[in-house]
Every structure is written in C-alpha cells, then in structure tokens.
C-alpha cells in the first residue's frame, strides 16, 4: 500500500501538468479527490491494513490528500488569474483583458445633457407619437387650415389628416389634454420634414420641446429660465439676444441667439459672418392653443420653447454634416465616449 500511495502521488503530479482549463481541473478533482476518487479508495482500504501500520499509512494518505489538494488549488488559481501571485507570467507589460466599450449616440448624449439641466429645474419628461393627426400637429397649435404658416414646415403625409409630425409641439397638446396645470415638462423626440437632404438638413431630426403653464407665468420668467439653461449648457460669458419672430402657437414669439462660441462674435463660417448662432425658438403660449385644450387663458399663462438636438450636437462637436449622425459608422460613434 505504501508504494501505491507513492505512485498515486506521481500520477497526480503528472496529471496536474496536463490540466489547462476549468474542465481539466474538474476532471482532476473527480479522479483524485472526490468521494469516489482514488485517494478516497485508498482511505477505504486503510481498514484492511495491519493495525500497527494504520497510523503511518493514515498520515501518508493525509499528506497525499493535502498535497494533491494544493496542486489543484495552485493550478486553478493559475488558470483563473495567471497574473496573480507567484504563477504570474514574467511580462507584466502585456495588456489586460479589455471588454468592448459601448457608447450612447452623440444625439442621445446631447439630449441627456439638455434633459439633466431641465430636470434639475423641476421639469418632467413626456413623449408622444411620431405619426400625428392634422389636429395635434397643426390645428390645435393655431395653424388654421389653408394658412401659409403650414408651408414653414414641409410635411410628409400618410393619409387623410394623418402625417409624420413636423415638430414635437403636438406633444404639448397631448400633455395638456391629459393634465391640468401647473405643468413643467420637456418633450424630446424625432420629427420629420420633407426637405432636400444636404450636409445641413436631413428629412428626419430631433427636437426637445418645453412647456410651462401656471398662473402668472410671464415672458420675463421665460427669459429667466432659458437664460439659466443657456448659461448652464453653453457656459457663462456668452452674450445672448431675444429677437421677435413668428410661430403660430406662441405670442409673443422669440428666437434666441447666442454669440458665436467659435469666433466670439467677430464673424466666421459657422455663424455665417453674423457673430450669432440661433439656438432656440420660444414664446408665450397663444391663447388659442389654451382654448383648444380647454384651459382658460384668462387664468393661466405659459411659455413654450423648442430646440433642435441635431443642430446643437453639430455646433457642440464641430460636426459639419448632419448625415453622419444617421450613417452610424462606428468610427464616428466611437469618438463620443463618455
């Protein structure tokens, strides 16, 4: 039996050298250390040994068991973590195991930043359908039928009075139809316009709409809120201006411009030599819009605003072709790791 113990030890030493993976480790354990393994079998036979030999043989067997266990532990340690401890390979300059690095789309990242600012100012987030009806996309927003204002947004039509929404503003209507004031909400999403595709414009893009309705909301507060947003998003030190413009669903309406952050207002290609960049449209919700959702315009006032996420992302990253966003070349997407 003494020799069997010795040869089993040799057998184990040989076997452990051929083990290279977890499966081998398991097979090794089953063969030598399991309850029906070779070592257990020898322990079973201890009963049949001469009583005076038993203590010595028992000691040898125990030593064998712990030695084999140690072989196993070292091997499995080496397989699981070759760079750890004494089993480490000599060259620590070799690279570690890196996984793939994922990323959110640059448009999503831009939206995330915008959303975080408005959420911190007490706005919630709502959404709506991309297929809209004429009522929500136009009529309830104070675009009368057969009015030239409808030409401001070239529309893709799907059927009688059904279309792809040309702006996120119909979500304003849906939100107000479902909820009573006070409301503070932003509404991001895809919009579609039948415009020629070029580096500057695509037939599908993204907007964030904003709406705030309560008693006593004023144009002054609209200015305060949006200036706060602009300052947080674009940084302090920029000049901005509010310029009168026309949207059917707000009155008074304004376009907000910031001083060009490339040339500092001196005039460059990005700002078309004007020194200004248009970044936001806004205004006080038109009383007709309130009437269409059953709010009393004498009781409530509110402001709404909207901005193009794609345009903001282009300005922010110096991207000169909007189509890059929708080509999804991973060499492009890879540049926007967070």
């Amino acid at each position: 039996m003494h020799s069997e113990i010795t040869s089993l030890r040799e057998e184990a030493e040989n076997a452990i050298r051929t083990v290279t993976d977890a499966r081998g480790i398991d097979e090794f354990r089953v063969r030598f250390l399991a309850r029906k393994g070779s070592i257990a079998a020898l322990f079973d036979r201890l009963k049949t040994a001469a009583p005076e030999d038993r203590p010595a043989l028992g000691k040898m067997l125990n030593e064998l068991r712990s030695a084999v266990q140690q072989m196993l532990d070292e091997k499995s340690g080496a397989i699981q973590a070759p760079a750890s401890g004494e089993a480490a390979p000599a060259d620590l300059s070799l690279p570690g195991r890196r996984g793939f690095i994922g990323s959110k789309h640059p448009l999503t990242q831009t939206l995330d930043e915008i959303r975080a600012i408005f959420v911190s100012m007490g706005f919630g987030v709502a959404d709506g359908p991309e297929i809209e009806d004429d009522y929500h996309n136009f009529e309830a927003l104070n675009f009368p039928p057969d009015h030239p204002a409808r030409d401001m947004q070239d529309t893709f039509f799907l059927g009688p009075r059904a279309l792809l929404r040309t702006h996120t503003s119909p979500v304003q209507i849906r939100v107000m139809e479902e909820h009573q004031p006070p409301l503070r909400v932003i509404m991001p999403g895809k919009v579609y316009r039948n415009e020629a595709i070029s580096a500057r414009s695509y037939c599908m893009f993204h907007q964030v709409e904003g709406l705030c309705v309560d008693r006593g909301v004023t144009f002054a507060e609209l200015k305060g809120t949006l200036i706060e947003f602009i300052t947080r998003y674009y940084g302090a030190g920029l000049k901005f201006r509010f310029r009168p413009t026309f949207f059917p669903f707000t009155e008074p309406s304004a376009d907000i411009y910031i001083s060009c952050f490339i040339c500092g207002g001196k005039g460059c290609r990005l700002c078309k030599q004007s020194g200004w960049l248009e970044i936001l449209g806004c205004g006080m919700v038109d009383p007709n819009v309130f009437r269409s959702v059953g709010y009393d315009p004498e009781v409530y006032t509110g402001y709404a605003f909207g901005m193009g996420i794609d345009r903001i992302a282009m300005l922010r990253h110096g991207i000169d072709d909007i189509r890059l966003f929708f080509d999804n070349d991973i060499r492009f997407l890879n540049q926007f790791r967070q």
Partner: protein, 806 residues
C-alpha cells in the same frame, strides 16, 4: 424679398449705417439674410461702344472687335453671335473680376487678364447678363441703351450705388413684402412715420363705364375689385431709373406697363394686373368660379387645367386671368396694345392659397394675397399705377374708378388691458409708454374705458386682431432685450412626469455592456419596411422610393448599418437602437392616431469577434448564445423573473434559430441569427445575430420587499444525467425544479457533453444544485433525500440515467 436702401429713403429719409439698420430691424423681427453694396462687384466694368467687328482669322465662331471706352480703344475677341458695330455694351477691363464664369460648372468668379485667343490679342471682355450675374441670359452679350455714354462705369449706368437687404419674411407679416412696409418699421427707430408719394390724376371727360363693366359673382372670395382704364398708351421700354430699380430688386424689366405694376407692388405691397382692353371681349370683366378642367394658358406660356374652386377673372366670354395668381396669355400687354385696364383687387387669402397650391404656382402676387394684402390700400395702388402710366407711357385716363367693394373692411379696433400687458410680459409698463410705442407703428389710441385702452389697427396689419397680438407689438417695439428676466415665480413641486425614462435605463445598460447606439431613418424602402412582417405605412409624398414607407421593425435599419460598416472595414459590431416602429392595425390595440399602431422597440445586433483581440486566447466569433446572454442580462437587470424563451422549430421571418422572448406571459420579442437569404439581400457575408424586443415589456414598477439574508449554509451538489440528445436542457431544468422541495435554491447547467464516452444519440447534461433551509443547517441525510427526489424525477420524466453525482 429684396429691399433697396435708396428706394426706402423715398418714403422718409434716415441716416443709419446699413449694417446697423439691419441689426436694429432684426431686433424688431425682420430676418436679414444679407446686406450688400451692389456696386463693389462691378469695379472695372464700363460702357463701351463697338466700333468695328471682323471675323476671327482662325475661328469661325469668334469675332475681333474694337471697342471704344471713351479714353481708349480696345481690341476684344468676342464669341457672342449678337455683337454688332454701333452697340453700347458692357466691357470688363483687364484686372476686373467677372462675377460668374460661364465655362466653369461652379460659376466661380475669375479675374480678366490680357490674353491671346487663337493668336489674336484680347484686352478685355464684352459681357453677357449671366457673366455679370444680372440675369440668366447667356446666349449673347448684354446690349445697353443707345444713349449710354462710353466710359461711364457700369455701377453708374445701372444705378448700383445702393445697398440691397435680402429679407426672409415670416408668413404673419405680408406687409413687410414691400418697401413701404419696411419703411414703416424704420419709423420705430427714427420716430417719423413714412409717407407714400402723393398722386394727382388728371381724368378725361369720358367715363370709364362707357368702355368697361365689372361684375363680381364671387363676392365671398373677392371682397374688393377695382379697375381703371387708360386709352392710347405707348408701350415701350421703361426709363432707366425704373429698369434699374426693378433689376436691383431682383426683377426683370419687360415693358413700361408691366414694369410699373411691379414697381407699385414692390412699393406698397399691392399686386396689380394690366389687361389689353382690346382683348377683353365685350369690354367686360366678370369674376367667377372656374369650371373644373378648363384649360388655361398663363402669360408665362404654361398650360394649366383649372381646378374646382379656382376664382377667375373673365371677360364677356372666357377666362383672362387666374385671380390673384397670374394673368392669361390671351389678354396680356403687347407692343400693339393701346388701351389698358388696370386691376387692383383684394382676394380672400385662403382661396388664393388653395388654388395656387393646386396649380403648383407661386408668384409675387399669390405670395402677397395668400398671406393677406391690404384691402384698404387698393385704391391708392390703383391711382399710383395710373399716375405712373400716364407719366411714363402717356395716354388718357378715363373718368372714374370702378370699385366693387360692397362691404367695406374697416380698421379693426382692439381693446387692450394695461394690466394684462404686464401680466403676460412680466413688465411694469404704464399706459403712456404703451400708447407711444404702438403709435410708432401706426397703431393709435381710439378710446379709453378704465384700464382698457382701445386701439385702431391699420388694415395692412392683417396679423393684429386680438389683445395678445397688441401685447406682442408692445413687447416688440419696447424691445425684448429690455424686458428684465425673472425666475421661479411660479415654481411648483407637482410633477406628473418622471425624470428618468425607461429608454435612458436601457441605453445606459447597453452602452455599459459594450454596445454602441445607432439612430437610423424610420423611412425605408417599402420592401425593407415590410420585413418586420406587417403591412407598412406608406408615405403619400415620399422624397424618393428609398424612403417611401415606415419601418415595421428596427432590424432592417441595423442590417443596413452593419452592411455599411462592413464595407468600411468595421467587421466587429455591437449595435443597439431604440426607436418607434409603425404599422396599420385594425385590431383592438389602443392607438393615439386613427388605425396607426406605433410601438417603441429595442434592437440589438452582434457580428464579428466576441471580445477584443487578446494575447491569452485565440478568440472566437459571436454566436447565438452571446445574444441570448445579453437578453438574459437585460431581463435580469430589470428583474423580469417571469420571463422565458420559446424555441421555434422553423425559421421565422428574418432569422434562423429563432427564440421567442416572453415577459410576464406575453410575447415581447425575439432573437436569432439572420438567415442567409436575408443576409444576401443586405450584402452581409458574415454571421449576424439580432434581437428585437418591445420597450413596453421593460417595466419595473413593482418594488420588491427585502428578503432576509440566510443564516444557515448552502449545500452544493453536482449531478450529471445521460439523456437522449434531443431533450432540451431547459426541460431537464424544469423537471428538476418541479421535483425538488423548497430546499432547492438554484439550478445551473455547468456542463454539456456528447462524444465517444457516451453511446450514440445520447448526451450528458450536468447541473449544479444548491440546497438550503431557512430554519436550520441541513443534515447529510436531508440533502441526500432532496437530491434523490430530483434524480428520481428526472430519470422518470426523461428516461435519464444518472451519470455522476458528488
């Protein structure tokens, strides 16, 4: 709309630098596309007289001319067929920059130098309209008036000592589509209201009614129709000042009558039309509806089929003009015209817009009428036109005006509450300040009652009807920038909408797992759009057939993306997209718009290597279990324990080896490998795996109660069964769970073996089982009993044999 500085100053002088003017008007709501001096482009261009013309000795189509420019005589090679001695022409001198190169596709400007053309020296260039960027005519050189003086600069000849403002006009302000309209805005800066030129007319004794009658049958669509008649006019080119004014404003001069009507339109915004009286049968004008389908030729020579509802100006027998849009070829002014009828009307905007849209015509006139012309300005424009015609084309004005205007459109009176102004704007304006501001744009106080002031609004301000419209005017004139910004006055803590959406959580999860987010076009080729297995929604007016339908699945868009990336050499891709899919559905599912069903989905795509290259292992390509694992990860992350996979025996839709994904007992999506046929359609050679799953399923609104940590140890047992190779591991697992007592805590497959150590058609599946009691430490006997139940259950249910246990 192009506005000229010199033209503007006729209505009220001002001394504001053009760029400053543009800046200040911008802050009043006008949008400037550009501000440019007109003369700077034409340095080095002068009037020349062609003295001689010889054929080029070595080129049939070229001629060699001598041209006198007052100071010198130049030899110029010219390719135009129409060049002739005695002509006054435009000569570009050596060193001048020609605005457009006709021989360059981009038309980039170029500098003239002294050159030899086929051996003949040429010192300058005789220019065409197109080369000067003054018009489209490139067939021949531009011939100037006979009285042009050789040596005179081109800028002086064309009156280019002027500044052009190019404006983008919002649809609410049709009054800005004229010089007078812009001049009225300048009054806000100067404080002086502009004035239109006074018109004094000398009428003859002969009454207009003797030669002309007007009947309006379409009173609803034609609230006002006015006409005058002038006999014995002499048709000819307009004087230079008029031609220059039109040309500088971007219009093409034609003849004196047409030029005058255009000039008056650009002056005060009222479109006008002149008819040849001899061509108006019966001396009659009748305004009536078109008979649908009637053919009609407009004066630009294009033939149209009249739509129902079009309002037409007719004579005694036939249509002569599409009301408010464009005149007809059958009654237009020609060189033979002697007696003319001038029309000035006010048309209902929606009627004009409808007809113009149906016909696909947009003209200077239709643009103004459909936005709203000034019903109160009709008479002035008519008289102004008559005055200019007599001044420039002679003729005798018949006595009287025909003015069919049964219901006078009066100036509106709009009440304004001073408190409401401040309530909306957040200002502290007082009444006098408001009245003064509005006065600057011609809106005047007409009465007061308590806090309410009544304002009279001129008829050209079609956009000002309500109190809020007046408030906007106050804000505009007062200055948006002067309104002090406030903050948080109405802050409310109520918030029915969440701050973080499910989409965001999914985006974070997938980006964290090494996926890159893609955003693809929802509009697709109908064939691809239908690949989702539903009838796609068609776009009625698509840009092209590649974008003529809406996607019913996110998979085709990501496959296109994968193909594009493969072509660019990006072979390993881990992409996800979250987006809407659309279909027509007449079933009971709830919809927001008609029968359009819209659903938000998450789509994953895997292809290429399973991990970045690493020295420790040869690496492998992704397979179905990578995709399944990522879905399992998502389900686990959202704690959707009641979810399972359903194996489809046949291939389904786009994928082979398809697994359905069920969440809480309802179908949520699927995963699989893209079939070879589908890969072929997208030009994808390598295996691609996808999953598409409804975002709706990722709901996690149940907050789970905390489970106390176990106080007793777990016992682990491994069991391996030999079973028929066709039995799915998931069925074995299900049997294990069913057979076990509540002591069983977890089951995981840790090995699957099929090979020489087993008989053919058999496989071995090994499970790790964990047992635990919440009340006590399990004894060996208890554990053995628990394992025994499991083994017996599996053996019985699947004809399995226990291969090993430890």
């Amino acid at each position: 709309m192009r506005i000229l500085e010199r033209w503007l100053k006729q209505y009220g002088d001002f001394s504001i630098d053009p760029h400053e003017l543009a800046e200040r008007l911008t802050m009043l709501g006008l949008e400037f596309e550009s501000v440019q001096r007109l003369d700077t482009r034409y340095n080095g261009f002068v009037v020349g007289e062609v003295l001689t013309k010889e054929k080029h000795p070595r080129a049939d189509r070229l001629s060699v001319c001598t041209v006198g420019t007052g100071r010198e005589t130049l030899q110029v090679v010219c390719g135009a067929p129409n060049v002739a001695p005695g002509q006054k022409v435009v000569v570009g001198l050596v060193g001048a920059t020609v605005p457009r190169n006709q021989h360059d596709p981009s038309g980039a400007p170029f500098v003239l130098s002294r050159v030899a053309i086929r051996g003949v020296e040429s010192s300058g260039m005789i220019c065409s309209e197109s080369e000067l960027d003054m018009g489209k005519d490139s067939a021949g050189i531009m011939v100037l008036d006979r009285d042009a003086k050789p040596g005179e600069t081109l800028a002086s000849y064309f009156g280019l000592d002027d500044v052009a403002f190019d404006l983008e006009i919002t649809p609410n302000r049709p009054d800005w589509l004229s010089h007078m309209g812009v001049a009225r805005e300048i009054a806000v800066l100067t404080g002086t209201l502009p004035r239109l030129p006074r018109v004094k007319l000398k009428e003859s004794a002969e009454p207009v009614g003797k030669h002309l009658s007007v009947t309006v049958e379409e009173g609803e669509n034609c609230p006002r129709f006015a006409a005058r008649m002038i006999r014995g006019v002499k048709i000819g080119p307009s004087p230079r000042w008029l031609q220059n004014a039109l040309r500088n404003a971007g219009l093409r001069p034609r003849n004196n009558i047409v030029d005058i009507t255009n000039y008056v339109m650009y002056e005060c915004g009222q479109p006008l039309h002149a008819f040849d009286h001899a061509l108006l049968r019966g001396g009659r004008i009748v305004v009536r509806g078109a008979k649908e389908g009637t053919p009609f030729t407009t004066l630009d020579g294009k033939e149209h089929t009249l739509p129902a509802g079009a309002v037409m100006v007719c004579d005694g027998e036939r249509e002569v003009s599409i009301a408010g849009i464009m005149g007809g070829a059958n009654s237009e002014i020609s060189d033979a015209t002697a007696d003319i009828v001038i029309e000035a009307a006010y048309w209902k905007p929606s009627s004009i817009r409808k007809t113009a849209k149906l016909l696909g015509i947009s003209t200077d006139a239709s643009q103004r009428f459909e936005r709203g012309a000034d019903p109160g300005g009709v008479r002035y424009a008519l008289d102004r036109t008559a005055g200019l015609v007599m001044e420039l084309a002679g003729g005798v004005l018949l006595k009287g005006v025909i003015d069919v205007y049964p219901r006078k459109i009066r100036e509106r009176t709009v009440p304004l509450r001073v408190a409401r102004v401040n309530h909306v704007l957040g200002t502290k304006l007082k009444k006098p300040e408001i009245v003064r501001s509005l006065g600057l744009i011609g809106i005047s106080e007409s009465g007061v009652k308590g806090d309410t002031v009544k304002f009279r609004v001129p008829t050209f301000r079609v956009d000002v009807e309500r109190e809020i419209d007046i408030i906007e005017e106050v804000a505009r004139v007062y200055g948006y920038d002067r309104i002090e910004s406030g903050s948080g006055a109405t802050f409310s803590f109520r918030q029915p909408f969440p701050a973080v959406s499910r989409e965001q959580t999914l985006q974070e999860a997938m980006a964290g797992r090494g996926y890159q987010e893609a955003i693809t076009n929802s509009m697709q080729q109908p064939k691809k759009a239908a690949m989702g297995g539903a009838t796609p929604v068609r776009i009625l007016n698509p840009q092209n057939q590649d974008m003529a339908a809406l996607r019913t699945s996110l998979v085709p868009g990501l496959l296109e993306t994968a193909a594009r990336n493969h072509n660019a050499g990006n072979l390993t891709l881990r992409l996800f997209e979250i987006g809407h899919v659309f279909r027509i559905d007449d079933g009971p599912a709830p919809k927001l718009v008609q029968n359009y069903l819209e659903e938000e989905r998450l789509c994953l795509l895997l292809t290429g290597s399973s991990a970045p290259v690493h020295w420790s292992s040869p690496g492998r390509d992704v397979d179905l279990f990578d995709m399944k694992g990522d879905i399992e990860f998502l389900l686990a992350k959202f704690a959707l324990d009641k979810s399972r996979f359903i194996s489809y025996s046949t291939s389904k839709g786009l994928t082979d080896n398809t697994l359905g994904i069920e969440i809480q007992g309802s179908y949520a999506g699927y995963l699989g490998g893209i079939s070879k046929e589908v890969r072929g359609l997208f030009g994808l050679e390598r295996p691609v795996f996808v999953a598409e799953i409804g975002v709706e399923g990722f709901r996690r609104d149940i907050r789970k109660a905390y489970v106390p940590l176990p106080r007793y140890p777990k016992v682990k047992r491994d069991v391996a069964f030999t079973v028929d190779a066709g039995i799915p591991a998931a069925s074995l697992e299900a049997t294990i769970r069913e057979s076990a007592t509540e002591l069983l805590q977890s089951v995981e497959v840790f090995d699957v073996y099929q090979g020489e150590q087993l008989p053919g058609g058999k496989k071995s599946v090994a499970f790790t089982l964990e047992f635990m009691s919440l009340e006590r430490t399990l004894t060996d006997a208890e554990t053995e009993a628990a394992v025994g139940r499991v083994v017996a259950g599996v053996e019985k249910a699947h004809g399995a044999a226990l291969r090993s246990m430890r």
